[in-house]
Symmetry: C2
Subunit: 361 residues, 2 copies
């Protein structure tokens, strides 16, 4: 087992990464300060792991909330249902919420913990590769609004994260690839050596090799933690974590949440951001080709949906929260393994990226 510490002063917490961690309840109980627990999961994950988790936790009042699975249910209304259970079962301020699921469950549970009685403890047990490398670090919680993704939420840190690699054995291959998208992102924005490691180990990751997955989760979390520790509330540096996401969010919004997986949209979004970076001269032809090739090997889309027009992209990117005072800001590559945030965007080049990135029908 690897233990990674996310350093945020009095909000610091550990991430436990390894195989079979769900069978080690002491990893959780050391972080539970009261006698009440509420485990929040979804209707796909709960049948697989809820009983196992509950049976390992004795002597506690345990409530359960089972949410409908999927990004389309990451709404204020579904989120509010968590409070119905917490209050009906008289959870007090010392309760701990446990998120057992992917990013949607984690985001909604963390946001519920941030707001229940103005803040109670929570623990993340991510069950997807994406949530292990993305939601585990950073404290971003929230829900979607019909007019924008993640528009309502809070920065709120968990007591600990339990990343049990064994849970990934039940993950559909499409979701494994979606998680690898965020892993590739860390290589591109801040860790070129890791990008090279990924080029050499992509097949092991896709094959579910536990050693490779543990290493990739650990190194991704380390990269993210280093950024977040410097900029917990996204004042500046942290924006580089959104590499590929402004394009990706536009794709997700246009397609309706849930039709493309988040990681798939980020995959296409990173290809678009890499394309624009290449047009600016920041990376070479062969470097752009290596990025697209790795995304392709990871079974991720590298093109935007065929039915999305440049005008639709611009409209959707205009309401994205990464726009400061109405001016478009994008995260682009300065070189392989180094990202920057810039509002100095050549709209002709951007148009060329839209044209070049459109899938052929």
């Amino acid at each position: 087992m690897q233990v990674l510490s996310v350093n945020l002063g009095d909000r610091s917490y550990p991430i436990y990464i390894g195989e079979g961690l769900l069978s080690q309840p002491e990893l959780l109980t050391r972080h539970i300060r009261g006698r009440q627990l509420c485990i929040i999961s979804n209707d796909r994950i709960a049948p697989l792991y809820m009983d196992k988790l509950c049976s390992s936790l004795t002597g506690l009042q345990i409530s359960k909330v089972i949410l409908p699975d999927g990004e389309s249910h990451k709404t204020l209304e579904i989120w509010a249902s968590i409070f119905d259970t917490l209050l009906a079962e008289k959870h007090n301020r010392t309760t701990t919420l446990i998120a057992l699921g992917g990013g949607v469950v984690g985001d909604m549970t963390g946001f519920a913990a941030a707001c229940y009685q103005r803040g109670v403890d929570f623990i993340q047990i991510p069950t997807t590769l994406l949530s292990m490398v993305d939601s585990s670090v950073g404290g971003k919680t929230g829900v979607n609004h019909p007019l924008g993704k993640n528009m309502i939420g809070a920065f709120y840190q968990p007591q600990c994260v339990l990343a049990d690699i064994s849970l990934l054995s039940s993950l559909p291959s499409r979701e494994l690839s979606a998680g690898i998208a965020e892993i590739i992102k860390y290589g591109l924005i801040s860790d070129y050596d890791f990008f090279v490691w990924l080029e050499n180990n992509i097949d092991a990751l896709l094959g579910g090799d536990a050693f490779a997955l543990t290493y990739a989760v650990q190194r991704s979390c380390e990269n993210k933690a280093a950024v977040v520790a410097q900029d917990e509330r996204e004042g500046g540096l942290r924006a580089i974590l959104n590499f590929g996401h402004t394009f990706g969010h536009a794709i997700e919004t246009a397609q309706g949440y849930g039709n493309w997986l988040h990681g798939e949209a980020v995959g296409a979004g990173m290809a678009m951001a890499a394309d624009l970076s290449w047009r600016r001269g920041a990376i070479s032809d062969s470097e752009l080709a290596r990025i697209v090739d790795l995304l392709h090997k990871a079974k991720l889309p590298t093109k935007a949906p065929a039915d999305m027009s440049p005008a639709q992209f611009m409209e959707l990117m205009g309401v994205d929260k990464k726009v400061l005072d109405g001016r478009l800001r994008l995260v682009l590559l300065e070189s392989m393994g180094k990202a920057i945030t810039t509002s100095d965007i050549d709209l002709v080049m951007l148009q060329q990226t839209f044209d070049a990135s459109k899938a052929v029908i």
Copy 2:
């Protein structure tokens, strides 16, 4: 004009207190960092002051949200409607929300600011005496749930508070008394000299005397700020601010939010807490009589509703968030001008307080 600083490190902010402040826009504009504003008010206050406020703020994109007036509308559903406007009118992360109204508007606006894009700026312009002395300091924001008051919310600090005493001229006398309830509270829990001042100046306050009101608001906010600065997130000391509130919340819940004003329920609740403190020997017969007399002169109820049974009180106080791990904790007086929090409650005495505090039908 008085300027009081609430000292909370990098979350410190000023409270401006005085007459005619709404005509001094520079007090606001120095705290507005973007070009977007959203003024949130209710359908009783907006017709009185919205135009005046808007006309003084030039060169800004101003959106308006008018909420239905009253505690019964302090719900997640009404709160969520604020986001509909913010997103439809493309407010970005540099926007500032302004709460123009009483505690309900302030609590919902602050909570919306805490959650919109995971946190934007907000400013409080309280229009009731209660919100000037209570909501102005402390950063408590939130909404009610059918199973409990203020159960969903956040600790979130404003950029500044503008307490314009002139706005109180439109306040119904019943609401003026409700505000005086919280003012009396500060005298009881932490400032005996202020309690004596209130005994001598209660008629001036009820008569709307601007000098007396300015002084009472300032001294109340100073008392609250001193407590909050030591305990921003209600770990311990801050609980004394809930003097009278555990009883009061039970009354509000039993009567349905909005039938008794919050300050009225707190008035009766403080009389009950004082009664129990007297039974424990903490205050004398004459001190108890002075407390009840001041509440009475302030035109506040000093008895619980006739139809509330002790069993109903216990049930409702059992789900109150001031219960730690299932054990009842109450704020009581240790002496005049000094409150303590204790879970050492004699249930026989508590029963006697319920019996003695019941209004005669």
